[in-house]
Every structure is written in structure tokens, then in C-alpha cells.
Amino acid sequence: MNSSRRRSRRAASLAPNYIILSLLVLFSLGPLLVMGFNSLKDNAEIARNPLGPPREGLNWENFPAAWEAGEYSVSLRNSAVIVAGTVVGVCLVAGMAAYALAKLDLPGADALTLYFLAGTSLPMQLFLVPLYFLWAKLGLVDNPLGLIIIYVALFSSFATFLLRSYMVAIPTDFEDAARIDGASDWQVFSRVIVPLTWPGFLTAGLVTGLWAWNEFLFAVTFLHKPEVMTVTISYYNFAGRYGRDWGLTSAASLIMILPVVVLFLSLQRQFIKGLTEGGLKT
């Protein structure tokens, strides 16, 4: 009796919190909701009713039209290749670096850590322009591999710091036991350390995958030909051409963000942890 009364008084005192927080949810998700509504209306209905849910029946035609006009069958495949290449590359490169920094006797490990830290806070505009002309010379412009290499270099420092914090927490007994059994350093890394720190690799992979999927500046600089474009670039070009067609762009937006939002909602703990640790950079 007493405790329930206390609880209800507490709930009452939190009511203003809930009201303001709900208004903030409306601000945060309202525009996305409108986009979802408008993807299901034709343009005549959007003109009459730009914000509310569709009232004149569901119009699914925007989706196949957006799929065609946005050239998604090409750009989704390109983005998948670039995201997969980046995630694999980052996990490999950063995993090895983290292992060396955390577990091996590397002279100058502190200086290297400092160097990587400084490198992550350099503005991309400092190296973007010379890098473009270097890449053009090497035939890596308009080449998915060229962009993957750049992304791996850009995102590996963050992943190294993250993975290093996982690896230092592993007691040396595990490695020692494997070494006594005659394992080489590479075998210790791949068969002992990686399996024990896989949640770290999952977090690093999710975050770099998200960044690679959403990345704009380097993609717009290094990819020009339609057949190599990523979803961000084909969407950007598409929005430039069909920006006035609210229904069509809403459907195209949904196609592009659906994989991200579904993955985020199902693995939100890992995403939030990884992004709040590394995301202050971007």
C-alpha cells in the first residue's frame, strides 16, 4: 500500500519528463514517419495531405519506380562489395595492429598509439586532394578497390583502439598455453586471441560497416562512373534529378535506409556502444 503510493507519487513526478521526452521523440522520428507515409502516396495526394498517413489507399508504385530510377540493382551490389571489403580489411588490419600493441613486445608502442590518435584527428580535407591525384595516377579512381583501401586506412585506427582494449583484458595464460603447444604468433592471434575477443570484432565490424555504407565525401570524390557508384552517390544523384517528386524520393530513401535501420534495431547495444566510443570522431 505504502510502496505503491510512493511509486505512483514518483510516477506523477516523472510525468513532465515523459511529456517532454515524447515531444523530443516526435521531433526525432516525425520526419522519418512522414517519409514513410509519403512513400505510399501518389503526388496528387501528397499535395493535399503532405504530413499525415495515406488516406486514399496504399500506393506501392513508388518502390519499383525508385528502384529503377535510382539504379539500385547496381549501386546496392557496389555498396555491398565495398562494405564487405572494408569490414574484412579493417578487422584484419586493426586486429593485427591491436594484437601487436596489446600483446607483443613492440618498442615504441606508445609513440605509435599517439601517432594513430593524431592521425584520426587530421582533417580529411588535408589529404583528400593529393590522395585523389595519387589515386588517379594509380588507376584507383572509379575503382571499388581504391575506395576500400581508403576506408580501411581511415577506419582502422578507431578499430585498433577498440580491439586493443578487448585484448589487454585477456590473461596471458591463454597465449602461454598455446605457445607451449608450439603455436606460432600468427596461430596464437588467429586461434586464441580472435575467438576470445570476437564481441570486439563484431562491434568494430558493425561500426565500420555503417560508416562505409553511409560515407559521402570520399565516395563522391573517387567514384564518377554510374557502374561503380555506391548507394549514397546514386541516391545523391537521384535526389538531384527527382528531388521534386516527394513520393519517389521517400521510397528511394526507405530502400536505402532499411538495411541499416533493421540491423541497428536488432543489434542496437553493440551499435550504440561502438558508435559512442568511436563516433565522436565523425
Binding site: L14, N38, A97, P130, S157
Partner: protein
């Protein structure tokens, strides 16, 4: 003897083999081109042919270039906006969310979602909403609320602030989550002591919560300053720095100079000044900290 030295050699070499890939990538992608930027900034180069050495002429041009001045001032305005608006919203959201148990996860996720969506999509969502013929403005005007019927992105007086509003819309929720995590690690006994002293909610926030999350708060402010000097995506996608350079920032000026006007040497010089500004702010921060300022 030889196997002994072979083994020693291997023990020294192995760590370097593991760190070699990241080092090589870093040198090729970041360090090398960054140093090349220093050289190009002293040349006149269109991107093809050989660069012509012109000394400090690019930097002299920066001092007198009106577009550079507009861009720099816009970066400073951007910094001020992002040091205040999203930080205040983030603190408000986190402070309101901290005492809540039921639904806390839902609110966190709801605020975070815009942050994981690509900038090009977020920009287009708002461009549609703010469309001068089809957006909310004209719709509200037809229903008797005329004062929002403005081409926010197309007017020189509002373009920069509108882009900042849209960028902030995707960013503030991230700060809620960061500040909430920090607030949850503040010791409960401090709050209990404050309550015993009869502190109001506001006093509690000001004297317990804020000092408790200070390291996180200061770090986000520092990152905000650095990142405000580098902002590119939302401005380029929404206005390309226009109309008439009204929303130009240094990063869009680098991009336009290099890939629009093919003034690669000048672009490198502008990029170099951006790095200098960032370095100065980090330097100020580190010095103040060394001097014993508790920030």
C-alpha cells in the same frame, strides 16, 4: 648460435610484421598526402602537368579572398551553434531520461536513429519538408499559419542556419546517449546527499550532475569545435555552399577549389589552414589542462 640469433631476430621482427599493414596504409593514405599538401600549397597546380612553385602566394590570396572570409566566419558561427544548441538538447534529454526506468531503452533508440541514417537521406527528408511549394510551409500557410512559408534553404539570410538545424536534428540524439551513459556513472550517494541538503532539481543538475559528467562534457565540446571546422556533408548536399556563398564553409571551398575550379594548390593551402585551426584549438585545450584548469 645461428638458430639463437635467428630466434632473436624473429622475436624483434614479428611485432613489426603485425603492425606493418596499418602503418603502410596510414603512410600511403594519410601521412604522405598530408605532407604532399604542404608542398602543393606552395604551388600553382591544376591537377595535371607539373606544379609551378609560387611560394606563399596562395596564403596571401587567402588573406584577401572574400569567399575565404565568409567561409571562415560561417565555420565560427557553426561552432557557436553546435557548442550550444545540441549540447543543451543533449543535456536536457539525458537529464530527463536518467531517472526513468520504464521505456528508457525506447527513448534512447528513438533519439539515436537519425544518427545512423546517411547524411544524403536525412538532407533529402528535410529538403522535402522545407520545399517552398510542396513542403510544410505552404501547407501551413493554407491552414492560416503563414510565417513559416519561407524558402529556408534558398535565402541568403537563412540558408546556413537551416542546414545547421538539419545537421543538429541528426546529431543531438547521439549526445543524449553519450551524456546519459556519463550521468549513469555518477555516484548515487552524491544525489542523496544533495537531496538531504534540500537541493531543488535544478540545483541537483547544476551542482551534482554537471560536475559529475564534466570529462565527457568537455571532450564532446572539444570534438564539436574540431568537427565544426571540418563540416562538409550536410552543407554540400543541401546548398553546395550557396546561395551566393551564404552557407560556404572551408571544407566546401576546398572541394570546389580542387574539383570545381581545378585550383589544386589553392585548395591544399585552404585545407592546410583548416588543420592549423584544429591544431590551435587542441593546443589551447591541452595547455589549459596542463596549467591545471579542470576541464
Amino acid at each position: 648460435m645461428t638458430t639463437q640469433s635467428h630466434r632473436n631476430w624473429k622475436r624483434v621482427l614479428t611485432p613489426w610484421l603485425f603492425i606493418a599493414p596499418i602503418l603502410i596504409l596510414n603512410v600511403v593514405i594519410i601521412l604522405g598526402p598530408s605532407l604532399a599538401s604542404v608542398y602543393y600549397s606552395l604551388t600553382d597546380w591544376s591537377g595535371v602537368g607539373r606544379p609551378t612553385w609560387i611560394g606563399l602566394a596562395n596564403f596571401e590570396r587567402i588573406l584577401s579572398d572574400p569567399v575565404y572570409h565568409i567561409a571562415l566566419i560561417n565555420n565560427l558561427k557553426w561552432t557557436l551553434i553546435f557548442l550550444t544548441v545540441p549540447v543543451a538538447m543533449g543535456l536536457l534529454g539525458a537529464a530527463l531520461l536518467a531517472p526513468i526506468e520504464r521505456g528508457q531503452m525506447f527513448f534512447r533508440v528513438a533519439y539515436f536513429i537519425p544518427y545512423v541514417i546517411a547524411s544524403v537521406v536525412n538532407a533529402q527528408i528535410w529538403r522535402s519538408l522545407l520545399h517552398p511549394l510542396k513542403g510544410i510551409g505552404p501547407w501551413l500557410a493554407r491552414h492560416g499559419i503563414p510565417f513559416l512559408n519561407v524558402a529556408f534553404l534558398g535565402k541568403e539570410s537563412t540558408a546556413l542556419y537551416t542546414v545547421a538545424f538539419i545537421d543538429n536534428w541528426h546529431w543531438w540524439g547521439f549526445l543524449v546517449v553519450v551524456y546519459l551513459a556519463a550521468m549513469q556513472s555518477v555516484s548515487i550517494s552524491l544525489y542523496e546527499a544533495a537531496r538531504l541538503d534540500g537541493a531543488s532539481r535544478w540545483q541537483e543538475f547544476w551542482h551534482v550532475t554537471l560536475p559529475g559528467i564534466r570529462p565527457t562534457l568537455v571532450f564532446t565540446l572539444l570534438m564539436t569545435i574540431i568537427w565544426s571546422f571540418l563540416v562538409f556533408d550536410y552543407i554540400y548536399v543541401l546548398t553546395e555552399g550557396g546561395p551566393a556563398h551564404a552557407s560556404e564553409v572551408l571544407a566546401t571551398e576546398v572541394f570546389n577549389a580542387a574539383f570545381g575550379r581545378f585550383e589544386v594548390g589553392y585548395a591544399a593551402a585552404v585545407g592546410l589552414t583548416m588543420s592549423l585551426f584544429c591544431a590551435v584549438f587542441v593546443g589551447i585545450f591541452v595547455t589549459l589542462r596542463r596549467r591545471g584548469w579542470e576541464i
